[in-house]
């Protein structure tokens, strides 16, 4: 059982996302994270799904996804050399004084940006893989995280290889 990153190319039509997520829930597959947006091919969207399962389960997930008429291509990126990113926006308590400086220091170490400054809080924007964001969040907890917003993971293959429809 390990996380798999699936890249799913779909028709950009109403209801496609609910077909995909409905399939996961009714077949008992778990979604760890999900991100969706338009892509380079006109009329298509790309959904990146991270899900956990053994090889047989992931094979079944992919086969079931492929059966959906609106799904054009499903690829498992897990075994490939790839770059993964997610984005988090973190609102953290920052009373004027020493903690504020500490938080700004942490932000700079993690290459996070401070995108909003309030009288008693800061909003940090950070991009990276899941582990990096987890680590920053953990460090910020001591100051009091008021709100945390994370996107799902998106992923792309390194080098010139692509995940595109073959047609």
């Amino acid at each position: 059982m390990k996380p798999h990153t699936l890249s799913v190319l779909v028709e950009n039509r109403p209801g496609v996302l609910s077909r995909v997520t409905g399939l996961f829930s009714r077949r008992g597959f778990n979604i760890e994270s999900l991100a969706v947006g338009v892509c380079e091919e006109p009329g298509m969207s790309r959904i990146t799904i991270v899900c956990i399962g053994d090889d047989a389960q992931i094979e079944q997930v992919m086969k079931q996804l492929n059966k959906l008429i609106d799904v054009i291509k499903v690829s498992d990126l897990t075994e490939n050399d790839r770059v993964e990113r997610e984005l988090a926006l973190i609102k953290v308590n920052a009373e004027p004084g020493s903690s504020r400086a500490e938080i700004m220091q942490l932000a700079s170490i993690f290459r996070a940006q401070i995108i909003d400054v309030g009288s008693r809080s800061l909003v940090l924007s950070v991009a990276g893989d899941t582990k990096k964001i987890d680590a920053l969040e953990k460090l910020l907890r001591q100051y009091g995280v008021k709100e945390l917003v994370r996107t799902g993971t998106i992923a792309i293959l390194r080098g010139s290889k692509t995940v595109r429809s073959s047609r």
Partner: protein, 558 residues
């Protein structure tokens, strides 16, 4: 300029549809108005569920796409069980539903239900058509998707304003529909086919395990030629009955929970299982770890997701059963002698025949055997679900594909009677019998109205034991005979039939069975037979839930 309703009706005609089953209502008024002048035959059912089952029965008997039509909200929701039934058994139907006008969608309008949302998990695909301009293409695609690849139900939801709006229209003529997300594989991989043929040479005890996929791909002739060419015995699932004639020397009958002992023993001892158009359902396999535990497995199926879903497979072949079997036949170079294995199977067959008590009581197995011998493989047999279905599967001798129509995967009580109506319109030349229980028959008994109204010559043989028999059987065997809510009060089915203007006969003595069945067959219109059978007869042999399939109880080996 044409209205959406006209485009729809023309589309159905272009797809070769002659008969549809439906029930009118508010938002489908424009469609019904168009039907009024059309040459399409519309059969008015008494409940929308029956329309879906009738379309399904039509599809199973004909191999063509069945069509049903219902209004929005309750009408559409009443189709759901029928659509799910078709989905589980991979039956091509197109379900048309009305919907509230597009400007009211999502408003909880009168008779609004999100039927595309509701049917998402039970359709192969569905459409909510929002623009009349798209309708022609949608109809074309829906029929294409329903009948190709692994067949299945497709639903088209039509808002009222889409039906009434007028647009310029020409029906898409091209023979092939191209969908970039849907490209079924029909031809098997040649290297896998060679590997399968090698395994057949290596094997000592091969067995063909054949299901509904062989029926739906019309692969029976190829299956027979293949089995006979290599002398491999054949067992079929409930859905595969009829793929090989029941009295063929290589046939072992049905396997699984209520299969024959010899079929289940053969699976257990086989060293090579050639699974074709099957899905290793729990009613077939029993305890999965012990199912065909000594065997290597070749799995041929058009749906790649079925291969390896429940059981690890040694040789996967994705493709259409007919084409793959033909390809395998053409590549056979060597043959192996399996005579020792066949002799072993013959010995099992002799030692453990299907048997039931012959003691003067009216037993359901006898009724079915009599019907089987009267019809001699002609006619089409439909069943309800439960004991009636299992007894028919065990004791009726099916000789041809598409002559056995039953709800396998979903196990829908109330399926048989309306499905039989659909079967009649697919094969008007055939005698159609619905073998029912008194429980199942009462689930769609209102269709007596449809049958009487249209003089649909469907015969119903009710195996009446005044119990929900299969559940009662489980209560007897596993719940200490505590018959919790399974006893039904007596019903005079002949009187009910008579009230609709349908003839019927009650039968209480075995010596009257043949006369009664003959009377039903010779009556021109519909006919109801009420067989008052032995009340606590069981379906045996039986594999208890969770047991290995060779651990059977009851039946013929006391």
């Amino acid at each position: 300029m044409k209205t959406g309703a006209k485009i729809l009706i023309e589309g159905l005609q272009r797809e070769g549809v002659e008969t549809i089953f439906g029930y009118p209502g508010g938002v489908v008024l424009p469609i019904y108005d168009e039907l009024y002048n059309s040459s399409l035959r519309h059969i008015l059912v008494r409940h929308e569920q029956a329309a879906a089952h009738a379309a399904d029965g039509f599809a199973r008997a004909s191999g063509r796409v069945g069509v049903c039509l219902a209004t929005s909200g309750p009408g559409a929701c009443n189709l759901v069980t029928g659509i799910a039934t078709a989905y589980m058994d991979s039956i091509p139907i197109v379900a048309l539903t009305g919907q509230v006008p597009t400007n009211l969608l999502g408003n909880d309008a009168f008779q609004e239900s999100d039927i595309t949302g509701i049917t998402m998990p039970i359709t192969k695909h569905n459409y909510l058509v929002k623009r009349t301009e798209d309708l022609g293409h949608v109809v074309r695609e829906a029929f294409f998707i329903a009948r190709t690849g692994r067949p299945g139900p497709v639903l088209i939801d039509l808002p009222k304003d889409v039906s009434t709006k007028e647009v310029e229209f020409e029906y898409p003529e091209s023979e092939t529909v191209t969908l970039r997300g849907y490209q079924p594989t029909y031809r098997g991989h040649s290297r896998q086919i060679d590997r399968a043929l090698e395994m057949l040479i290596e094997a000592e005890r091969p067995l063909l395990y054949v299901g509904g996929g062989v029926i739906s791909s019309d692969a029976s002739p190829e299956l027979l030629r293949f089995a006979e060419a290599l002398m491999i015995p054949v067992t079929t699932t409930l859905m595969g009955l009829g793929a090989i004639p029941c009295d063929h020397p290589l046939n072992l009958g049905m396997l699984g929970m209520h299969g024959t002992r010899y079929a289940n023993y053969a699976v257990t001892e086989s060293d090579l299982l050639i699974a074709i158009g099957v899905r290793f359902d729990d009613r077939v396999t029993g305890k999965l770890d012990t199912f065909a535990a000594q065997a290597r497995i070749i799995h041929i199926d058009i749906d790649p997701a079925e291969i390896g879903k429940n059981k690890r497979v040694d040789v996967p072949i994705v493709g259409d059963a007919k084409s793959v079997l033909a390809e395998m036949l053409s590549r056979i170079q060597k043959k192996k002698d399996y005579e020792r294995w066949l002799a072993r199977i013959r010995a099992w067959k002799e030692k453990y025949p299907m048997r039931y008590p012959k003691d003067g009581a009216l037993r359901p197995q006898f009724v079915i055997e009599e019907l089987s011998s009267l019809l001699k493989g002609e006619g089409i047999i439909v069943s309800e679900v439960g004991q009636n279905q299992m007894w028919t599967a065990q004791y009726y001798c099916f000789r041809k594909p598409r002559t056995w129509i039953t709800s396998g995967g979903l196990g829908t009580m109330g399926y048989g009677f309306p499905a039989a109506m659909g079967v009649h319109f697919a094969r008007p030349d055939q005698v159609v019998f619905d073998i029912a229980g008194d429980g199942s028959f009462q689930m769609n008994i209102q269709e007596l109205g449809t049958v009487a109204h249209n003089r649909i010559p469907v015969k119903v043989a009710i195996l009446n034991n005044r119990f929900l028999g299969m559940v009662r059987q489980w209560q007897e065997l596993f719940y200490d005979r505590r018959y919790s809510f399974t006893e039904l009060p007596p019903v005079d089915f002949v009187k009910i039939a008579n009230a609709y203007g349908i003839d019927g006969m009650r039968v209480e003595d075995p010596s009257d069975v043949r006369t009664a069945l003959t009377a039903a067959i010779e009556t021109e219109g519909p006919f109801i037979l009420d067989f008052r059978i032995e009340r606590e007869e069981n379906v045996f042999p039986m594999v208890p839930a969770g047991a290995a399939i060779n651990e059977m109880i009851g039946g013929n080996c006391e």
